[in-house]
Symmetry: none
Subunit: 490 residues, 2 copies
């Protein structure tokens, strides 16, 4: 995906551990350094939650997973890193000291990113010998699910390092946003902070409780914010007359006393007590782990929904999934007298029903994926697709022989019963790896189509030759017992 | 649902029309008054969008829909209303005049709610003879999808009117939030306004463009805000140590210069031009109707996802659906000699491949959904499921006859070919509504199973009797030409 092979994470709290999860799930090894005596244990706790969430998000474990190593010293962690993520406490002096040490030990060309929420990069890079490879790389909790990462260069940052960082984060499924000017809080945290200050005033002045303020967000504007920011939302509110009209109409309200602009509430003991007590009431006894699981379940469900609609953060996920799927194509031997083994898959959470069994449509999805793998093996590549060649499934006969459960490993083998210049008659068997049982079969008739003229047409030379080759090799195989069956006829 | 039978909407812009959609979809008649000469046309435009979105949100049109009447005078609209929604322009003098007129003509006990985003109820009720039945009822755009409605009483509002309004909004699927103190902007708009002012500064100061500010929201915090507000998010960030710890750790940042608290940017012509131009670039030529459709598609997908997880706004929808479903279960006529019409569906983006055609697995998903609807019609309800009754698809024969594209409306009809005490042999046809073409067929054999013993078993009394009844009624129908076919045999 990217030429990054080893990342180093310095600081392994919630944010640092989130980075670790992102990297290893993209096949990148990570060395972790955190001097806290409990760091490895707490990091592994976060990783366990993150990996379970990513299994659900991505439909199972990745084909290759990076390794995590905990090192005893900072220099060991960063010594051969291709990128370093610093996620130390949010105190400028501490970060400056750690960043200078990372700079001394990391390879000269390795970008060093700080997870700071709002400290200025020009100040953070001040003590580094090679400040040009430093930038702010500000992620959001949970780092393994939320795609945004803000990139902010300091005065001495090399613009090429920013470009390099963009390509790395893009490759690990994130959405890098380059901040145009160095500013405290960058973009996102300025917005969060403005809302947070107002939220504190509302609780301080007893206009609403902690839970009511949160409800005012999540039952309305929050849903829109998952899709679009205020500008796009207000553009729509303005109607066809556009943004200029909206600004003319609602601009005056900006001068109305609708926020407590002037000040921030003083965090007296009494005020902090009030917030803490109301927050306890809101949590209603649920511990942080439960709240995290609930948060992740909600985020995953929304990311899947947005992926399916190809909108907002779902588009980032969709593109990343497509890229991850691309390199896994199987090389098939077209001359062997044995069914092709074209597909390996694990049953994801999205594919099971309320009884915990794989849904009918997922059987067909896997048979469809096996069909696509067959076409690819026959030579249906991007060039052939661009030339208008494709296959269409005209007819299928599916037999469900055994139920399949969440997490089971399956494979699909494919036998060609017959082929001519425009048809392939195939028989797929879905096997469960654990007991080698055949759990379902699909007999399918594929028609070769000319996608430009939208009609059935003979396949091009290479594909046609491969179809004949494969049909010939499989001619030696016994015809499956249930081939040629109609529904309900024994 | 509620004893409200007639609502009146005074003002039928985007907000007023959104109210109309909410009410009629809950079986409540609405009288609409808006003096603008184009009001009826624009209101009907919004209603068309809203109804299409609600069909998708709720899985089809409601069993009973209220009627909409446009009246020539305000007094006609409100004269026999059980509740009145005022959605006039956001100008205090205009609203006061209209509210006083509504007050003169509406029945004495009818609550009158204003959709104002932030004007004070004590001032709005000042000219009313019966101010006690007035309150602010502030909804969010799109009113027909977002559940929040803020209720704010004025000095002279009767607390019983607030309670009455809560029960009405709850009954039409909303989430009423009673604001504890009268304050400009109530709760939600104060938060929105704080974020909006900061967003304007970021664009004003060239830290980010309009699109970048929006991206900073929707790729990270926005996703969280759809689930939870800042307090809950920060509680989780604080870890097991709780909110007090979080406040101690991050409280000091409140004093850092992370927002432009002191002022609001002046809306000079140059600044408004900048925003308008950047907003045009962000919209990339998409018109408001397209942006609205995209917004609604995203909101519906997220609401469905959150409903399935029973979280945030999805919990409101889930509860409302459950309430609506109780009296509305689609009663299939098991004795009619005609295929059952069990499923309506629209092809979502998730279900099309790179050629823009519906995927094989989605055909099967829709046939599976039709199967589930069939089982429900036969009496497979929660009680039967809990008792271990279920059906299993043993075998299917699918014929793909025509390709189907994104957004097309489909319906599935189901004919029973045969049934005995443990088997149903069914034949589904998928029709495209636009041209009534049959786009695919599925012949399927379902086996009744005992889920506890995990084996095929005779159906229970009610279901078995219904199976026989249906098979008997369908015995009069002609057997479909392609029933009993095997793959590749013509």
């Amino acid at each position: 995906m990217t030429n990054i092979q080893r990342a180093a994470c310095v600081g392994a709290g919630v944010i640092g551990a989130g980075w670790v999860a992102r990297y290893i799930r993209n096949g990148i090894d990570v060395a972790v350094y955190d001097p806290h005596p409990e760091a490895e244990r707490t990091c592994r706790d976060v990783l366990a939650t993150a990996e379970a969430s990513l299994d659900r998000l991505m439909g199972g474990p990745p084909p290759s997973r990076g390794r995590v190593t905990f090192t005893a010293t900072l220099s060991e962690a960063v010594g051969d890193a291709d990128i370093v993520q610093e996620s130390a406490p949010e105190t400028e002096s501490i970060k400056r000291e750690i960043l200078a040490e990372i700079d001394r030990h990391a390879p000269a060309a390795t970008p060093i990113g700080s997870s700071t929420s709002g400290l200025l990069p020009s100040r953070l890079q001040a003590d580094m010998a090679r400040p040009e490879r430093f930038l702010v790389t500000h992620p959001f909790n949970p780092v393994y699910l939320l795609p945004l990462v803000e990139l902010c260069a300091g005065e001495r940052t090399d613009p090429h390092v920013v470009e390099r960082a963009q390509s790395v984060y893009d490759a690990i499924g994130m959405r890098p946003l380059v901040v145009r000017k160095e500013i405290d809080g960058f973009v996102a945290d300025r917005l969060l902070e403005a809302l947070w200050r107002e939220a504190l005033w509302l609780v301080h002045d007893d206009v609403a409780t902690v839970a009511e303020v949160d409800d005012a967000v999540r039952y309305a504007a929050g849903l829109r914010w998952a899709l679009m920011g205020s500008f796009q939302a207000y553009r729509i509110a303005g109607g066809e007359a556009g943004m200029r009209h909206f600004m003319a109409q609602f601009g005056p309200a900006l001068q109305w006393p609708w926020t407590k602009l002037m000040d921030v509430p003083e965090l007296t003991d009494a005020f902090v007590d009030k917030i803490a007590e109301q927050s306890d009431a809101q949590a209603a006894g649920r511990r942080i782990r439960e709240l995290e699981r609930e948060r992740d379940a909600g985020l995953i469900a929304m990311l899947h929904a947005l992926r399916d609609e190809d909108l907002a953060a779902g588009s980032v996920l969709r593109r990343h999934e497509a890229r991850l799927a691309a390199p896994q194509r199987v090389r098939a031997d077209l001359d062997a007298p044995a069914p092709l083994r074209l597909l390996d898959a694990r049953v994801p959470a999205a594919a099971v029903d309320y009884n915990g069994h794989m849904t009918e449509s997922h059987y067909v999805k896997l048979f469809g994926d096996a069909g696509d793998a067959l076409f690819a093996a026959l030579g249906l590549d991007d060039t052939a697709l661009a030339a208008g060649e494709s296959f269409f499934t005209a007819e299928s006969h599916i037999m469900h022989l055994k139920q399949v459960a969440l997490g089971e490993q399956l494979e699909v083998t494919t036998q060609i019963l017959a082929a001519d210049d425009k048809r392939i008659h195939a028989f797929h068997r879905m096997h469960r790896q654990a007991d080698e049982a055949v759990v379902a079969t699909a007999e399918q008739m594929y028609l070769h189509v000319d996608t430009e003229r939208e009609r059935v047409a003979p396949a091009g030379g290479t594909i046609r030759a491969n179809m004949a080759r494969l049909a010939d090799a499989h001619g030696a195989l016994a015809v499956p017992e249930t081939a040629g069956r109609a529904v309900g006829r024994r």
